[in-house]
Point group: C2
Chain length 134, copies 2
């Protein structure tokens, strides 16, 4: 059962990260596990944030960029300038991501072409070798 609170080990197993990583993210204020005595217990909020963190990392964003993005996902924020800024940053990130997607599309096409050229080239080499062996 997916309990509401998870230990650090459960988190590590669930998300395939190390304890060090989770403590590091807490130090950087990306997640906020509660304490039971000295131990950390991670909430569903932490899990949602961690999911977004790992996703962001795969797009090459820095932890600091991700942290700012996460603020946008905090629906308890009633500070107008802060929310305004979060939205602004969110728009920038969105632009980044759309640009990246477009570039990625181009790069995929290029790589596909290069691959089919490479396969053809390889076949040519193999044929040459076979002919030379007769």
């Amino acid at each position: 059962m997916t309990q509401d609170l998870m230990t650090i080990r459960e988190m590590c197993d669930a998300f395939d990260v190390t304890p060090r990583t989770l403590r590091f993210y807490e130090a950087k204020e990306l997640i906020f596990p509660v304490r039971e005595g000295t131990r950390r217990l991670f909430t569903r909020t932490d899990r949602a944030r961690l999911k977004l963190i790992l996703r962001g990392k795969r797009f090459g964003f820095s932890l600091e960029q991700i942290r700012q993005l996460l603020d946008l996902y905090d629906r308890n924020n009633r500070n107008i300038p802060q929310v305004t800024k979060a939205i602004e940053l969110g728009r920038e990130r969105l632009d980044d991501m759309e640009r990246q997607r477009d570039e990625l599309e181009i790069a995929i096409k290029g790589l596909r072409e290069q691959l089919s050229w490479g396969e053809e080239h390889l076949q040519t080499l193999i044929n040459e070798t076979a002919k030379a062996a007769e």
Copy 2:
């Protein structure tokens, strides 16, 4: 005029990188400028490779991953096992990139939703403030 050979400074201006970066990439065997005495001169091949390097970096690939990919773009390679391996690696990268594109698409959607929620939320906060000021 775009000469065939460019100095390090011309390269830096053209690609918005530092000399250190170009020397570093040469040391890592990502580019192979020729020498005029002691000075580096960059060919169109170096420029093509640099373009691919900078693109790869934007997708979060490491320089080592990029180096392997660049080998695939070397059409002078007549070594069958090497070409075979390059194609293999290229296929893996292609898969990575397609996965990343799909994930990116999802993330963009999520961020868009979060942004429109945020904008709505912000408007609510502003309205509340206006009402409280009466």
